[in-house]
Symmetry: C2
Subunit: 396 residues, 2 copies
Amino acid sequence: MKTFSINYHLFKREKEGIINIFLKENENVLNSFSKRRIMFKKNMDNRNEKENTIRDVANLAGVSVATAGRVLGGYGSASSKSVSAVKDAAAKLNYIPNGIAQSMKKKNTKTIGLIIANISNPYFSSIARLVEEVLAKEGYNLIICNTDEDSERELSYLRTLYEKRVDGLMIASALKDSESSEDEVLKMYKNSIPTIIIDREIPGIDLPTVTSDNFRGAYEATTHLIKMGHKKIGVIGSNISTLFRRVDGYKQAMEENFLTFDDYLISNKTYDNVSPGDVNEGIFATRELLKDPETRPTAIFPLNNLLTTGALIAIDEMGLRIPEDVAIVGWDDFDLAPLLKPPITVVKQSSYNIANIATNRLLELISNSSLSSEADKKVTLSTELVVRGSCGNKAN
Amino acid sequence: MKTFSINYHLFKREKEGIINIFLKENENVLNSFSKRRIMFKKNMDNRNEKENTIRDVANLAGVSVATAGRVLGGYGSASSKSVSAVKDAAAKLNYIPNGIAQSMKKKNTKTIGLIIANISNPYFSSIARLVEEVLAKEGYNLIICNTDEDSERELSYLRTLYEKRVDGLMIASALKDSESSEDEVLKMYKNSIPTIIIDREIPGIDLPTVTSDNFRGAYEATTHLIKMGHKKIGVIGSNISTLFRRVDGYKQAMEENFLTFDDYLISNKTYDNVSPGDVNEGIFATRELLKDPETRPTAIFPLNNLLTTGALIAIDEMGLRIPEDVAIVGWDDFDLAPLLKPPITVVKQSSYNIANIATNRLLELISNSSLSSEADKKVTLSTELVVRGSCGNKAN
DNA sequence: AAATATAATGAAAACGTTCTCAATTAATTA
DNA sequence: TAATTAATTGAGAACGTTTTCATTATATTT
């Protein structure tokens, strides 16, 4: 498509009737131009077809915009005559207020941003569900952002949400230690939007936080495996920032029991085309970990729910028996866990509690711009080890 | 809390210094009032702390707002001197444009609304995941709304999203036949926002649609059960609008094979405190259906994934064996289906395809305000029956 | 150097609300 | 009826951008 520009001065002269020659000479070009103008105009007209504003309502009702605003907005006072006139007019015109303009004035958007790794992870989706439910009751909508544990994407979302001027932010951050001190990040996080951190802390950033007791949960699970007689225990998912504290818990339990753990037991590879913490990582990492019957751990501990699923798939695929060949304790409970043969032992965390507490604190933060009790700025919820049948008992 | 109003004229006079008596008499009241004013002021000052506008950037850079806008927005032309001055100023002020103001002018919000039954349903969450991913690449954000199959809530969300002036809408509607003709609904749906219907059609509303072949999927599953020798087949979830077409498919298959189905085989109860189509409905309905060994169907067909989970839980809980006591074919495949004993036969539908096609069509709709080929306005994706071991074989 | 074309600029008008302020009208009291 | 209080109203500014338009500065051609 050929572009061309029209000289402003020529246009000016044209207006003044000085040059008509130009017009003739460039007739064809000009025509296509004016066609474009007409198209554009039509398009705009189309779009604006019937976007009735409060002004239209006011006109139809025979009152001022101010009065229309008062009755529609339910503030100030208006005579019953005005009230009904405006309401009728609004109904007749099918008037729906423009929330953007309202946001502009009121300086809020009634929108919250939720930044998580992956909404298709049941843990996050049930959090999202609950958050959305609580928020909806308070008239807020929820924007969902999947980072896939990529801190670049997190920052990009952060910026977009800031541009959108969301009223609040709830974040399960992918940020790792090293990055968190970067200027840019800090600047973003200091950018004044009420923010609640969930699922895991962001190292080096001091914001209200609601997490499970990741350390203790992993510590208990590992201790349980040790009590059942396992000495060589593998861990899956250590490359994900969420899971750092869980790895810590594992290590602590091992050390307290004078058990050594070689590096190869702590799977921390990343795989091509596999987003971290996903089912596929669970499959690949488990395959690798259990490949060699000589060095194979007698128990594995996948550090999140999707990894657990992946591990189960890999174990099944390799024809290994649970718990005879390999024991497993999963992170996060799931509906089908008791139905598997054997039923799977898991560390259970309450997405319900996390979501509820975090949402209410966020709402508090939004309306008060501070938390009522600074004391419990960091909330840590305890996990529960649900013992079923997947750990065996080598101890006896 | 006691309310009070202050007389405007008194204030006016106060300003003019005429009445100080009033002040004294009402000291306490006025004090609390001015305290509130101060609080409010402080609050506002706090909020406005450092919201740098493009005007601030322009001032610091020593250019006009127009020029600043041009370099920041990347349109029009500006001297390299201006460009760097503005960019520097923006960086220094940590300027982040106000998207609301932009939306106001540009008449778009770069936001899409997704209305579904429940984001914690894996089927919907994986759709949401994919939709969000595609949208993010095009610079759109996604607002998620859970209706819990409640058409009231759907309408309320619809209105909110319209107020927010989202650029597009993707809806798995909870609307049933009877409701769809209501004026209000139609008005909403005709309200010009580009909209794609997914998962199920909205009866009586003519909009671009992307669905699985619900009828055929259910027909094939039922036919499979019949082939395996089942004659008394129960269905779970028929009270949900999504599933109407699936029930139709079931009925058709039954009829073609000259099988009768009593009403009690088609579970359509609603349970208190249980949202339709949820795991708990699956549990309750299955319990009821299988309660009586005399009338018990030899096979059941839960019509969505959560109902399937619930059915499995109930069957396990009742100590029944699959497929000897009761066969089952589930709707929607799931990762653990092959790992259960026995592995579960399912109707598989591709959330990937639905999400992808729907999203791309929506984007097309937004930019062109019409679909390129009207012919395939309604897209129906075929399902796949994945036969595993949960249906037994009574035929031999 | 004059004439012309192009690039760069700032003022100001939108966009659709909310809300203050000043004024007018209605209701109440003296 | 006059004086006072209360209720109702409309004009217009503001929110922070984008973008048109008219103009001025710069570059290019005769």
